[in-house]
């Protein structure tokens, strides 16, 4: 499993890349591996509000549909439209396949660094 050092991670397996008041959010390597081959991604409308801990998107694999929870509060500035036609990009390169860009981040949950997340993911595994 790959967990880049420059990213922060949530307990519900999203990664966050903070860029000033903006944040990019995606699914971790652990998440895509646990979900299996993704076949559908449902993303919010740009302009919508995200709230910490609340579901903002869902992803569907051949196994199940799962909610994606927001690790931050803010406004959706942009969505990764390429994923709508090619959800497999999340499986192929989870850290390039960002889901949403959030602007005006007002709140964020307690996030882990790569090392702490690796340990957390290992306990989840078992």
């Amino acid at each position: 499993m790959n967990y880049p050092e420059e990213l922060l991670y949530s307990k519900s397996h999203e990664w966050v890349k903070l860029e000033g008041e903006d944040a990019l959010i995606g699914l971790t390597d652990f998440a895509q591996d646990a979900l299996g081959d993704l076949v559908y991604v449902n993303l919010p409308e740009p302009g919508g509000e995200l709230t910490v801990g609340e579901s903002f998107a869902d992803v569907e694999s051949v196994k199940a549909v799962s909610d994606v929870y927001s690790p931050v509060s803010g406004t959706v500035a942009e969505i990764n439209e390429a994923l709508l036609d090619a959800p497999e990009e999340i499986n192929q390169s989870p850290y390039e396949a960002w889901l949403v860009r959030v602007t005006g981040v007002t709140d964020k949950e307690e996030l882990m660094d790569a090392e702490a997340y690796r340990a957390f993911a290992e306990t989840e595994e078992n």
Partner: protein
């Protein structure tokens, strides 16, 4: 095999009509261009469907332990009763006085099912389980609106629930609040208490739950919801474990749905259609979809629409012939047979669980109700053989796979529900087949990745089918 559209040849047909003995008319509204339908002889059509029939697998072929689906055997007497012309040839617009027998059947089935579930009123309109859920949720909304409580916008659903529960709630316009299960697989009471409030419209629960355990705190759970001002909805998917033994009405539930095509032996899946009647306590009967049956002053039966009905949720009175099949089942089993079927369903599940746990880890130890959940996580970690591979391998043993990857709270889950209609010999054979497969997975995992090898088609590319589905035939 070829599709119907790829068979036949232009101009071939199988209709032999007598010569027309009235003048032919060509009204304006007639279709000008011929429909693009296949041109086939009866021989071709018959062989096509027989070929399809050979490729399917159903309860009539063998063991079908699809968890949470209650794939019990459908007694043939049900079909014979539903085929009686007095039932099969009715038209839904016939005057009531010409269908008194059918109405009596509806009323008696309602009465028996109310008795089994502890409800006071029932309606047969919903055509399947999830349709019943949606109907029940509209009734919950109508109830709160009548009481002026429009702020009740949240439906609480445990994280082990059937996926249809949150989906139905969202479709009915509710916000879904998920409550986690505790270590024991049952609802976490503390988390439930935290989740309820003035915005709680209700709770959706199935008991026994999806890991095959009877939630022992059920009275406390329904009390917490009622104290918060919400209603309790019972998903009847797992009623087979408790029918005739304990009643959702006595557990504190206000509204329920049943799956006649699961619990009451009407055909399930492709053999449908289904039937998901909704029952409720008397205080909620005014919200039932309409029409419902009623007894008229002269003692005859008719139809009426309840006072504050949410309206019709389907045409006429639901899938009537499915109700006939359930009625035949109820009469065949009777008051002793119904609980006996439930006991045997639980016994069969525990018998099989005991045999399988000798070599395969279970998600929750101890006795179960009508179904249980195994986990292939250990096997996957050791060999790379996942629940999906085992499911495919079972196909080669002539067994329909258990439900895979559900419930979501168990990793690499396989959920097994043998039902009461399987013999001890079948269960022994299935257990041995499973044991041999598990052993092969440990010794020769690559082989299992190739499974199935004996079925009409090999392993299908499910990912590609979901990503790039071909949903219709395209003409050249």
């Amino acid at each position: 095999m070829k599709l119907l559209f790829e068979l036949g040849t232009s101009g071939r047909h199988c209709d032999i009509l007598p010569p027309c003995d009235v003048p032919e008319m060509s009204p304006e509204c007639l279709r000008k261009k011929e429909l693009r339908l296949p041109h086939l002889s009866e021989t071709e059509i018959s062989r096509h469907y027989t070929e399809l029939e050979k490729q399917v697998y159903g309860v009539n072929d063998g063991f079908y332990p699809l968890g949470s689906c209650t794939m019990k055997y459908n007694p043939k007497i049900n079909e014979a009763m539903a085929a009686l012309p007095g039932f099969a040839k009715l038209h839904p617009l016939q005057p009531d006085y010409t269908v008194q027998g059918a109405l009596e059947l509806l009323r008696r089935t309602e009465k028996y099912l109310c008795e089994i579930t502890g409800m006071d009123a029932m309606n047969f309109q919903p055509a399947a389980g999830a349709h019943g859920e949606f109907t029940g949720l509209l009734m919950i909304r109508a109830f709160h609106q009548k009481n002026g409580e429009k702020n009740r916008t949240k439906i609480i659903v445990p994280d082990s629930a059937h996926g249809t529960n949150p989906a139905s709630a969202a479709m009915a316009g509710y916000t879904v609040v998920s409550v986690p299960s505790g270590e024991d697989g049952c609802v976490d009471l503390e988390k439930l208490k935290e989740a309820v409030g003035e915005d709680t419209a209700g709770l959706m629960l199935t008991n026994p739950n999806t890991v095959g355990l009877f939630d022992k705190n059920i009275l406390e759970i329904t009390r917490i919801i009622h104290d918060a001002g919400g209603l309790c909805y019972y998903d009847g998917a797992n009623l087979n474990a408790v029918m005739g033994i304990t009643r959702p009405g006595d557990m504190g539930f206000d509204i329920i749905h049943l799956n006649l095509h699961k619990t009451f032996s009407a055909p399930h899946g492709g053999g449908g259609p289904g039937s998901g009647p909704v029952g409720c306590k008397k205080d909620l009967a005014e919200f039932l979809p309409g029409p419902v049956t009623e007894e008229k002053e002269d003692g005859s039966s008719g139809f009426a629409v309840p006072e504050s009905s949410i309206g019709a949720v389907r045409s006429f009175y639901g899938n009537f012939l499915v109700i006939v099949k359930a009625f035949a089942y109820l009469l065949t089993l009777g008051a002793d047979g119904i609980p006996e079927a439930a006991r045997n369903a639980v016994l069969n599940a525990n018998y099989l669980k005991k045999k399988l746990e000798e070599f395969c880890p279970m998600a929750y130890p101890g006795t179960c109700m009508h179904e249980f959940v195994m986990t292939m996580k250990d096997l996957k970690d050791r060999t790379g053989v996942a629940a999906l591979d085992i499911a495919k391998g079972l196909l080669d043993n002539g067994i329909h796979p258990p439900t895979m990857y559900f419930p979501l709270i168990v990793r690499e889950a396989l959920m097994v529900e043998p039902t009461e209609t399987e013999s001890r010999e079948t269960l022994d054979e299935a257990a041995e087949g499973f044991r041999a497969l598990y052993q092969r997975a440990l010794e020769n995992p690559d082989e299992i990745h190739e499974a199935p090898v004996k079925t009409p088609v090999r392993r299908l590319d499910e990912v590609r089918a979901a990503r790039k589905p071909v949903l219709r035939y395209f003409y050249d």
